[in-house]
Amino acid sequence: MNVSVNLPSRNTKVMNRFDLTSRLVAKLKNEEAVIGGIGNTNFDLWAAGHRPQNFYMLGSMGLAFPIALGVALAQPERRVFALEGDGSLLMQLGSLSTIAMLAPKNLTMVVMDNGIYQITGSQPTPAAALADIVAIAVASGIANSAWAADEEDFERLIEQSMSASGPTLIGVRIDDKPGTGTTRRDPVQIRERFMHGMGVRQPL
């Protein structure tokens, strides 16, 4: 089944969410926080190997970037990554303006864009055909926003974001594959383990 939306005007390579997530996680050496958005985005983060610094959303679609912003404000010395789907981001485009205004330099946002609501049956999003999420991010005031041309470019943009003077948004075109794993749906444990990972609390 191939229902991915064709985007003839775009020359970025169509990549894979799990592969990109694994490449990101492999780069993390300093207990960086990673916030995984609802559905496939956090399923692939889980499948890439659980870390105490990972937070997995089980609802509240669209809030991966706001949650990551909160972590970034609370811990300005820690790098915070947020992984979000294109459909999710469409629910909270206003959050890009808020992030641009506050301009936390320790925040790196990745938008996994397949143009579809994969998990609900691969229906196209309203942005699939015409809207450009990176252009929206730039217009919202996030100057460090770019499409990753391919996997190597994605890794380069991730590296670059770690020493950026403001927040970074990286758009990646991905295929229509579902998530690789399934996050254990235990919200209290997810939150508690994340707080341990953030050094906020010690286990009992």
Binding site: G59, F65, G70, V71, A74, P187, V188, R191, V200
Partner: protein
């Protein structure tokens, strides 16, 4: 003698301004180490928002939606920074999903101040209708909430509710009645 001393002490601080509800909110937030205050504004909250901006203790800023502000303070809590969200009744009405899928199941002490519109002199029928959805939503999730109507009780309600939210890791909504704030009336 005691009476005389009392009079003297009163005279000694004639500049002491009378307590205001927004002054109590500001002091209670500080006393409980709550520094992060995102908000979606409301006319009634104007002075509070202005005073929080003027106080370097606070990181306060507007968000595009109330849900976004809930996400921000939830992330900050997990990162070790306490927050509270300011909003109006109609803003609260947009929150059922995030309360049920983030604040409640993850046990996050979300502290909300909701300026109550839609009652005691409302002039917009839509506001009075949306106001009626607020308490049923809070009750259906068994969320702690209090409606503050009197200045003399307000500090007790705010301070104790913040402490309870944090120690029990449960959200709380503090509804600011027009009886406390004066509300918004047609000629404003």
């Amino acid at each position: 003698m005691a009476v005389a001393e009392q009079k003297t002490s009163q005279q000694a601080s004639p500049e002491q301004p009378p307590q205001t509800w927004y002054g109590i909110v500001q002091q209670s937030l500080k006393r409980n180490d709550i520094r992060l205050v995102p908000y979606v504004p409301d006319r009634v909250l104007t002075t509070l928002i202005k005073n929080l901006h003027a106080d370097p203790y606070f990181t306060t800023f507007p968000t595009a939606r109330e849900e976004e502000a809930v996400g921000i303070v939830s992330g900050a809590w997990m990162g070790g920074m306490r927050g509270a969200v300011l909003m109006q009744t109609s803003g609260f009405a947009t929150l059922a999903n995030v309360l049920a899928s983030l604040a409640m199941p993850y046990q996050i002490p979300l502290i909300m101040f909701v300026s109550e519109r839609g009652t005691l002199g409302e002039f917009n029928y839509g506001q009075s209708l949306v106001c009626r959805t607020m308490r049923p939503v809070l009750d259906s999730l068994a969320m702690e909430h209090h409606t503050a109507t009197r200045l003399d009780e307000f500090e007790f309600i705010v301070d104790r509710s913040i402490k309870q939210a944090i120690t029990t890791q449960a959200p709380v909504a503090l509804i600011l009645s027009p009886l406390l704030t004066g509300g918004k009336v047609f000629d404003k």
